[in-house]
């Protein structure tokens, strides 16, 4: 059972790679290709935004990465290991996934009981389960003392989402897959969730966030994977400048606001600010710095 210091060292994430992954599901008579030969490689601890219009296969890809569905072709590798190789199953357990609708996960009579479900299923001793659940609830800003006994469905939308996240964090994942965590949240709840995620990343957890909130994705993640119609159309670090943002616009995605501003102001897009605060600082800074990009 990993203690906090052990975790900080070991939690450098899990390197996830996909090699030619294809997945189709049946619709009536036809097979619909949700994923079409997707290939990419992420390093351990990477922070990645998974972008694409609805129906582009983001959810399917996340589920495939966690091993919840088997690709028809290709394979998913964790830390370079393939399914069946020793160590793969263990790595897979360290990949946590939070689905879009928290109501799909919450089922227990109290928040604390729900969060404890995961670690208990992993077979941890009772004390460890309790400690993990308490820590997880603290991490998401729902302290046990206040929220532990509350019924999950009595919480607000934002709180439920964070509770579902706690349920996964309690299993001490090394990388977190999140499917549209910001949808339906009001601006305050979004900010709170983003702060939680930022803290987790600072603690060493890898992050793959499927979202169409491009502004939060830009603030949180260093690189992006862009899906369209099941195909991977862009990967690697964000690329604006040299027409890089065409990646996004071409696939009907929004461009982060600070980047749009920088473009309108004619400022170099590499090194564009990640948030409103950063943008403001850059604007206020002496003009001499502006050209160095």
């Amino acid at each position: 059972m990993k203690g906090a210091s052990e975790r900080a060292g070991a939690a450098s994430g899990v390197a996830i790679a996909c090699q030619g992954v294809s997945f189709a599901y049946l619709e009536g008579d036809r097979g619909v290709k949700a994923l079409n030969e997707v290939t990419f490689s992420l390093s351990a601890g990477a922070t990645v935004a998974l972008l694409g219009p609805t129906g582009s296969g983001k959810s399917t890809l996340l589920q495939a990465m966690r091993g919840l569905l088997e690709p028809n072709e290709g394979e998913v590798r964790l830390d370079g290991l393939s399914r069946g190789e020793p160590g793969f199953a263990e790595r897979q357990r360290e990949v946590g996934i939070v689905f879009q609708t928290p109501e799909m996960q919450l089922f227990a009579m109290s928040a604390f009981e729900d969060v404890s479900f995961g670690p208990r299923q992993l077979g941890w001793p009772t004390d460890d389960v309790r400690a993990a659940a308490e820590e997880a609830m603290e991490q998401v800003g729902l302290p046990v003392a206040v929220f532990g006994a509350r019924h999950p469905y009595s919480l607000s939308g934002g709180e439920q989402r964070r509770l579902a996240l706690a349920g996964v964090l309690a299993m001490r994942p090394r990388v977190l897959l999140l499917d549209e965590p910001f949808v339906s949240l009001d601006p305050v709840a979004r900010r709170e969730l983003a702060a939680v995620l930022r803290a987790l990343v600072a603690g060493g957890i890898g992050l793959i966030v499927a979202t169409h909130d491009v502004d939060h994705a830009w603030a949180l993640c260093e690189e992006r994977l862009v899906l369209d119609g099941g195909r991977l159309v862009a990967s690697g670090p964000w690329r604006f400048g040299d027409g890089g943002e065409a990646d996004l616009v071409q696939h009907r995605l929004a461009v982060p606001f600070p980047v749009r501003l920088w473009e309108r102001l004619g400022r170099p897009l590499t090194g564009a600010p990640r948030s409103a605060e950063q943008a403001a600082e850059a604007l206020v800074a002496p003009a001499a710095r502006k050209g160095s990009g």
Partner: protein, 260 residues
């Protein structure tokens, strides 16, 4: 995610364009008639009529086969039960089990009858869209309104249930995956353990379904629905010559089978 329930195969055929009420009545009559008289000849007549209808329907045979698959086990069971366990003079003996002539006869008859029954049922479901079917049932059930049975509302309920089946299937699958990722196991242990393991699946499913019911009811009321109103239809049912003809043919087949 497709299920075999109410499977509809859109196409242009003489059967597809028939009024669903006529189809429903014709098939119901044939189904009842099938069971009122035990005769191979009668069965042959019904079988032949079904095959002709099959050809007219322009639905690929594979789809009829798919409709049979779920009941194959029942057909096999019936066959075996009759084959070995009907007393009579033995034709062949396999150890302690005796196959009697009468058993063979019964086994074949009952199995074939089941097959014809399923085929005849498929003729309706494959050539009639679910909403036409519910319209037909609502119309046919109208007399029941006199005894306070809410046929219109039941028909609407069936339509909505059908519309949400694919959605529910996806949701169930997603919930299972989400909980599996937290270590839930739905396929381990004895019946008691498995029942308990279903809680993380059933609670979310129920919660989501109740919420759906609430929201859907509100959306329906916002479009001026309320139970008990008289509703018109965009595509009202309209019986024509072809439909009366269908009923006449069905009647003829039944009469023929009864006489032979």
């Amino acid at each position: 995610m497709r299920t075999a329930i109410a499977q509809y195969y859109p196409a242009e055929s003489a059967l597809h364009s028939r009024d669903p009420r006529a189809k429903f009545v014709a098939v119901a009559a044939v189904a009842v008639a099938l069971f009122t008289r035990d005769s191979f000849v009668a069965l042959a007549v019904y079988g032949a009529a079904a095959l002709v209808a099959l050809a007219v329907s322009r639905v690929p045979l594979a789809w009829y086969w798919r409709g049979l698959k779920p009941v194959l086990w029942l057909i096999a069971l019936t066959f075996v039960a009759q084959l070995f366990f009907v007393p009579g003079r033995a034709l062949v003996a396999l150890g302690p089990l005796k196959v009697s002539g009468r058993g063979l006869e019964l086994a074949s008859y009952l199995s074939l009858r089941l097959i014809v029954l399923v085929l005849v049922g498929s003729l309706v479901t494959l050539t009639t869209s679910p909403i036409s079917l519910t319209d037909a049932i609502a119309w046919l059930g109208r007399p029941l309104r006199r005894v306070r049975v809410p046929t219109e509302e039941i028909a609407l309920m069936m339509t909505i249930a059908l519309r949400f089946i694919p959605t529910l299937l996806v949701e169930t699958e997603t919930i299972m995956r989400a909980q599996r990722a937290r270590g839930a196991a739905f396929d381990r242990g004895g019946p008691l353990r498995r029942a308990r393991a279903l809680i993380p699946l059933l609670v979310p499913l129920f919660v989501l379904s109740f919420r759906r019911a609430d929201e859907l009811a509100l959306a329906m009321e916002a479009r001026c629905y309320r139970p008990g109103i008289v509703r018109t239809r965009m595509h009202p049912l309209h019986a024509g010559m072809g439909d009366w003809l269908l009923l006449a043919i069905a009647a003829a087949v039944i009469v023929l089978a009864s006489l032979l």
